[in-house]
Structures are given as structure tokens and as C-alpha cells.
């Protein structure tokens, strides 16, 4: 029960954090230099036209009133219109978020799927050649900038070897409307279009690898350190004395107690990639929210910026709550005692 009240407390705090976030970003977006109306209309617009646009956007009103209007819209699910695309911001975000979410989900699966086993291998053969190899590889993966890796993969796998497509989510020739969840991997299965599923996977592979490398390196290093720590515990020696086979000791008795640090970091990475994937999205022309966010910031497209920031914030909070639940599931001590 303590764990439940801990979760509820966390959720309530999250709401406060989100309110604070909205205020800070709202003010910053309006204080930084550059006039959205001027930027949208271009250099040749007359001062009168600019003034008209400003009042149309409500920028001539006091900032508190502007914030009030923003919150009013938010409660109706209306984030206003984007100056950049001239469409409602909610529509833009709905489409781009799905693309980014799909990309980041694949990224995390790759990072966990390779990072954790690599860390286990390194821990098991500590100070022997597999360990050295994994550590070298992990450092290398962690320090390579994602844009560099993205370009490298694009050139190598795309242009030289012609193995995989290098831009977008689907080939231009392919007609498909992802109308249920927006996630191609799910909607294509619902629609029974396995050809779309295959293409979507092929398109996802390169950008996911480019994004996953750094996190995977970190996962491997964390898992290794954590496993080595646990392997020295008395209960592992006891399991040996009670005749538990070695493979089971490593995959169950050692892995589960050492899984909390990698899991926690994975949650943070997952949430921060939603906004941080823009470099890779740009390189691969991925129609995602991170790239959309950057373009709207450069344009001082205020409504869209607020929308992107709020969605990233909500996502961050939700992912971390989910991780808290998972951590409680993995380690009963957290569930029983409450966390910190």
C-alpha cells in the first residue's frame, strides 16, 4: 500500500511539474527576441500588416491573459493553429508524434535487446576477452555522435550496399493511411497489409540503430557493473552451494537484482529521445515530432512550440511513472518499503 501511495504522490507531483513547465516555456517563448508575426509574414510585409497579425495572434494582449487563453484552449484540446503548416497544432502533433514514438520505441527495444545481453556477457567473462571486446564496443557506441552514425549508416547501408531505404517511413509509391493508432507497425497488421509492415520495418532499421547506439552502450556498461556487484553477494554463493545450475544463477538470480539501474536509465533515455531525436529525424527525413519541434522553434511558431513541449512533458511524466511501477515489479523491496 505504501507503494501505491508513493505512486499517487508521484503522479500528483507530476501534474504540478507540468503546470510549472507550461508557465516557464510560455514566458520564455515570448521573451526571447524575434517577432513571430514578422517571421511568418516575411521581410516585405508592412508594419500595418504585422500589427494586424499580432492582434490576430493575441500577441498585443498582456502575457497573463495570453496564458489564460492558452490554458482555456488546452482544456478543450485546442492548441491553436501552427503558423508553419497553417493547420491545427493538434493535427500536426498527432501525426508527427506517432512517427517519433514508433522510432523511439524501436530504438529502445534495440538498446535493451542488445545492451543488456552484452552487459551480461561482459560481467560473466569479467576481465577476459569478451569483457574487453564488449567494453570497447560499448564505449565506442556511447561516444559516437548520433548524426555521424546516421550519415555513416545512410552512406554505407543505403548508397553503397543498397540494402535499406534511407529516408521517410514508407516508400513514396506505397499508399497507406495509418488511421487507427498512427503507428505503421500496428495499423498495417490491423489492415492486414503485411507488405506495409515489412517496408515500415525496413525504413525503421537505420534510424533506430543510429539512435540506439549511445543508449545501448550505456545499457551494456550499467548492466555489467550492476551484475558484477550482485555476483559478489552471499546469496549468489548460497545458490551455488544449493546446487542451482550456473545458467540459471546468471540469467535469473543475478540478472533480476541487477536490473533496476539499467531500467531506470532506460526510462529517462526513452522520454528524452522523444524530443532529442531531431538530428536523426532530420538526417533520415523522418516526419517526426522532434524535427517538427525544431522547425517550429526556429520559426517562433508559438502555438506549435507550446504543443510540442507539453506533449513531450506529459510523455516524460508517463514514462517515468511506468518505470516506477516496473521497478517495483522487478524489485519487491521497493514495493514493500516504498521508494526512498
Amino acid at each position: 500500500m505504501e507503494f501505491l501511495s508513493f505512486l499517487i504522490k508521484r503522479a500528483l507531483w507530476s501534474v504540478l511539474v507540468l503546470v510549472g513547465l507550461s508557465m516557464v516555456i510560455f514566458v520564455i517563448a515570448r521573451v526571447v527576441p524575434g517577432d513571430p508575426a514578422r517571421m511568418a509574414l516575411g521581410p516585405r510585409a508592412t508594419p500595418e500588416q504585422v500589427a494586424m497579425m499580432q492582434s490576430e495572434l493575441g500577441l498585443d494582449r498582456p502575457i497573463v491573459e495570453q496564458y489564460g487563453l492558452f490554458i482555456q484552449g488546452l482544456t478543450r484540446g485546442d492548441l491553436g493553429k501552427s503558423l508553419l503548416t497553417e493547420r491545427p497544432v493538434t493535427d500536426d502533433i498527432r501525426e508527427t508524434f506517432a512517427a517519433t514514438f514508433e522510432l523511439v520505441l524501436c530504438t529502445m527495444l534495440l538498446a535493451m535487446g542488445f545492451g543488456v545481453p552484452l552487459g551480461m556477457i561482459a560481467a560473466y567473462w569479467k576481465d577476459q576477452w569478451p569483457d574487453t571486446a564488449v567494453r570497447f564496443f560499448a564505449i565506442f557506441a556511447a561516444v559516437t555522435p548520433s548524426f555521424f552514425l546516421a550519415l555513416l549508416l545512410q552512406i554505407l547501408a543505403g548508397y553503397v550496399l543498397h540494402l535499406l531505404p534511407t529516408t521517410g517511413r514508407l516508400p513514396n509509391s506505397m499508399e497507406f493511411e495509418a488511421s487507427w493508432t498512427g503507428l505503421l507497425l500496428i495499423d498495417s497488421v490491423i489492415a492486414g497489409r503485411l507488405d506495409v509492415l515489412g517496408e515500415a520495418l525496413r525504413h525503421l532499421l537505420l534510424p533506430s540503430i543510429a539512435l540506439a547506439a549511445a543508449t545501448m552502450g550505456q545499457m551494456a556498461r550499467l548492466t555489467r557493473a550492476s551484475m558484477i556487484d550482485v555476483s559478489r553477494q552471499d546469496y549468489i554463493e548460497a545458490a551455488r552451494a544449493f546446487g542451482i545450475p550456473e545458467w540459471l544463477r546468471v540469467t535469473k538470480y543475478m540478472l533480476r537484482p541487477s536490473f533496476v539501474p539499467p531500467l531506470t536509465i532506460m526510462g529517462l533515455e526513452f522520454a528524452s529521445l522523444i524530443g532529442g531525436a531531431f538530428v536523426v529525424e532530420m538526417v533520415f527525413a523522418w516526419p517526426g515530432m522532434a524535427a517538427y519541434g525544431i522547425r517550429t522553434i526556429l520559426q517562433k511558431d508559438l502555438n506549435a512550440v507550446m504543443g510540442v513541449v507539453m506533449v513531450s512533458g506529459v510523455f516524460f511524466v508517463l514514462v517515468n511513472l511506468a518505470i516506477d511501477v516496473l521497478v517495483g515489479f522487478v524489485d519487491p523491496r521497493v514495493r514493500i518499503r516504498g521508494r526512498r
Binding site: Q233, D234, Y235, E237, A238, A239, R240, A241, F242, G243, I244, P245, L248, K252, Y253, R256, P257, V330, D331, P332, R333, I336, R337
Partner: protein, 278 residues
């Protein structure tokens, strides 16, 4: 005498950071079937290494067995294939661990941990038992170590149990497959004296009832007197004295044993604390 466990001239050395140390020198001891034997010595005397060598738990390297034999039931454990060696652990010989706070895996329930031990012990012994029968056996053994609510205990995580309960779970784990030999590594030292006394009494009762052989490893002469009929005294990697427990206390031969006995605090007779000169 033909013993269940017989250690003959066991020598072990450790190499760490390029330095080699002789940790055991020609250690010999016998544990006859159904007998309760104690191995006593201070920290660093080599009693834990002896125990680990018997259980096959020495990490090699850094340890190296340089000589001797360990016979169990007539077979030399040191020449046995790894597979056969592992097969004996938890089935023919079991260990009761010292520290109840750190010897149970914190993220699995007692039922899970005990069930898994039983599952692999069954497999090695060629016994067939389904999951439900395994749980029945787990509850049965928990009741035998005087747990009042075996079902509730087995559904618990270690953190939900007291130190004394955890120690009893560790004893139950060792008894799951009815081994003939129990090796106890100072059980209860991590607990308060009252609980420790209860644990030792429980252990002694269980061993006597089942006719198990017990090798009690301890630094505590009080424990020796309570739990064993024959005792080996170790110092600096050698057995320096061995005798019937009563004889040892009445008429210690070696200077080391005399100083150990003199070091036991007394309630009467003024300040007769001896000085330990190892």
C-alpha cells in the same frame, strides 16, 4: 574408522597479487555418519576454506589445492568430474549459511527459491515431482524448522521476515533433499544471542532426529560444547588438537587450546581472563 566424510592431508594455497600463501597445511578430519563434529578456530585459521573445499566452492584460482583427498562415502571428491561434484551439493551434503540477512536472494519469494532448489535436486536424483508436490514439500520442511505459518512464510520475500526466520529458512533449504551430511557455518552469529540459542537448539534437534552427520564450524567454544561430541581445533591452517569434546574441555593438550579456553569469559572467580597468544 570409516567415516562418511574424511579429509586427508588437505593442503590449499592462495595466490593473490602475485603472492602465494599456504592457507591449509595437511588438514585431516573425519565426520562419521550420524556424528556431530565441531571445527573450531579463530578468524583466519582456515576453517572456512576447509568448509569451502569440502563443498567444492573454492574459486580456483585464486585458490589451489596442492595436496590431499576428500572422501565422501568412499569416493574422492577431488578427483570427481565437475558434473558429479555438483550433483552432490544440496543432495548428499548441504550447507547452512552464516548470515541470514545476505544469504537469501532479495527479489524472489521463499517459495520460488526453495522450489527451484528442490526442482534441480530432484532432477539430479532422478526423482519426479510436479510443482504442487514440490510446494507441499517446501511447506513440510518449513513446518519442520518450526515455522508457524509455512504458507505465509513461503509466499513472503526475505525482507518481510525477521533474522531468526530467515535463518530457519536457510536451514530448511539445506534440509529439502534430506542430505546425509550438514555443514553449518557459524549459524546465527549474525543474530542476537537469544535467537542464536534457539537456532542452535533447533539445528541440534533436527540433526539428532534424522540421524544426520553435522560438521559445525565455529569460533565459539560455547557452541562447540552445546552441539558436538568430537572437536577439531584449527590454528594457522593446521589442526592443532582433536579430542572428545568433554576431554578437550577437561584436559586441553596444546597451548593454543588452553589459551582459547582461558579466553572464555567467566561469570565467577574474579578476573581470570587469559591472554590469547596465537
Amino acid at each position: 574408522m570409516s567415516a562418511l566424510l574424511s579429509v586427508r592431508d588437505l593442503s590449499v594455497e592462495f595466490t593473490t597479487y602475485g603472492q602465494t600463501a599456504q592457507v591449509l597445511q595437511n588438514v585431516s578430519l573425519d565426520v562419521p555418519a550420524h556424528a556431530q563434529i565441531a571445527l573450531v578456530g579463530e578468524s583466519g585459521s582456515g576453517k572456512t576454506v576447509t568448509m569451502k573445499a569440502i563443498m567444492g566452492l573454492l574459486r580456483q584460482p585464486p585458490a589451489r589445492i596442492t595436496g590431499g583427498q576428500i572422501f565422501y562415502d568412499g569416493r574422492d571428491l577431488l578427483t570427481l568430474a565437475d558434473r558429479d561434484r555438483v550433483a552432490l551439493r544440496g543432495t548428499a551434503m548441504s550447507m547452512v549459511f552464516q548470515d541470514p540477512m545476505s544469504s537469501l536472494n532479495p527479489v524472489f519469494t521463499i517459495a520460488d527459491q526453495m522450489g527451484t532448489i528442490l526442482k534441480y535436486a530432484d532432477r539430479r536424483l532422478g526423482r519426479v515431482r510436479n510443482a504442487r508436490d514440490r510446494m507441499a514439500r517446501v511447506h513440510e520442511v518449513l513446518a519442520q524448522v518450526r515455522m508457524r505459518e509455512p504458507e505465509r512464510v513461503s509466499a513472503s520475500y526475505p525482507i518481510m521476515l525477521s533474522g531468526g526466520m530467515r535463518q530457519r529458512v536457510l536451514i530448511a533449504m539445506a534440509l529439502l533433499s534430506e542430505p546425509a551430511l550438514l555443514i553449518a557455518d557459524e549459524p546465527g552469529t549474525a543474530l542476537d544471542v537469544t535467537t542464536q540459542a534457539q537456532i542452535l537448539r533447533l539445528l541440534k534437534d533436527l540433526v539428532t532426529q534424522r540421524g544426520l552427520a553435522l560438521l559445525m564450524i565455529t569460533h565459539n567454544l560455547g557452541v562447540v560444547r552445546e552441539t558436538s561430541s568430537y572437536v577439531y581445533v584449527m590454528n594457522k591452517g593446521r589442526v592443532v588438537e582433536q579430542a572428545e569434546t568433554a576431554t578437550l574441555f577437561a584436559n586441553p593438550q596444546s597451548d593454543y587450546t588452553k589459551s582459547l579456553i582461558a579466553a572464555v569469559p567467566r561469570l565467577t572467580g574474579g578476573t581470570r581472563y587469559g591472554t590469547v597468544t596465537p
